[in-house]
Symmetry: D2
Subunit: 135 residues, 4 copies
């Protein structure tokens, strides 16, 4: 059986969008994950703040890694995000995913996204379906 | 007072991430919006399907345009998305945003995202706060 | 295999809380459900409007009936509701549940709740896990 | 300006549904709230487990009290709940509401609901609109 680190390595391999986002894996343990990325000019919208899709993508990847770390393939079923603060060019975002619940068939995770000043800029919740297939 | 088309033009101007996504505006009316984008190789994750952040970003932009089309600045408060089907390289996504509710202070919108075969690949719901500032 | 009407009859039998709510089944078909209930004084909060739990309960029952109507036991995984209008003593609420998506393992449903003046007072979304057990 | 305890007392006064639910206020501080209630036979559905509307109602009241404790009238805008465990006749539920974010116009709260064995049976998230009117 693979370790959480090996699973995330497999998931990150050939992951073009994560590379575009510049995601760094800070921490990966069973049910936990922390990622980082830096806001570039291509990630901004017309108001010169990061598009909501950027913090969503960071949180969604954190969910995927935390949920799959147990060793079974998990599929995202429903996710929600509250955007709580502006994200600017050059900001360094850190996501922290934690497991709220893990059952045989479903799991629930939360992800907080902070900027470099430890300000909470987004709060995310995700539910996954736990499949039978192992990594 | 500006028209919905003028407002969206202002929002799209200098919107680097929407340009990166290759978003085309198909329709914009008060409370309604339809966008298109095509999946490129940079939008794929390690499973060679589009990252969840791509359909979220398309839906979130659709929400923003539909909500702001009334003429007042709106801020996204809470959004949720269900990913319902795989999105592959070369797929052409179409979003259709509609208004569920519009009050003085808040609005609720839904966005369906279809692929080129009219298959529903994501369903999104968003709540906005309606500000005082006019476009 | 049981019909949608037979399944809902089984679900309503001995359902004490639905009886307390005074729920009437208006329509039940595969993937669809419409329920009614009337607001009594016991359902009000301190502001003399119906507690949010009342319209949630009506929508949640509508979800359960619509999802189980296919013949397999379904379990609610994640639900959300937006309260969009005040509900007063004596109001007659009608819920209308429709199927957004039905896969092998999950289903997504929406429920609109209207008052007797056809005003939308709540919008609900629910995701279910489709089990193996048949009714 | 009223204290959190005084505000909740005002909200609970004449709150018929909270009395029906048998809600006890365990703790109320600015941005925090803990409530209790015991499951009676009238709260059960046809499977002899508590209807999802019961834990939702407990969580929604916890949200309302925590959000209003600051002194300004708050209105629930969007709420979601994941039902994570069965609730049985005689179970004693405890809700714990905490503040994730509080801005000038909106606030985000989470509520965990536990049974008497400290098992998490529901996880709730709620967004409120902060009004101008003071208690």
């Amino acid at each position: 059986m693979k370790t959480p680190t090996e699973i995330v390595q497999l998931m990150m391999d050939n992951d073009a969008f994560s590379h575009w986002l510049g995601i760094d894996v800070e921490l990966i343990e069973i049910g936990k994950c922390s990622l980082k990325c830096k806001i570039t000019s291509e990630m901004l919208n017309g108001f010169l703040i990061a598009h909501g899709g950027i913090s969503y993508a960071l949180a969604d990847s954190s969910l995927a890694f935390a949920a799959n770390s147990h060793g079974q393939h998990c599929v995202s079923v429903e996710t929600s995000i509250s955007h709580l603060g502006k994200v600017l060019l050059g900001d360094e975002l850190t996501s922290i995913a934690k497991e709220i619940y893990r059952g045989k068939k479903t799991g629930v995770y939360e992800v907080d996204v902070f900027n470099q000043n430890q300000r909470l800029i987004a709060h995310f919740k995700g539910t996954v379906f736990v499949g039978d297939k192992e990594w």
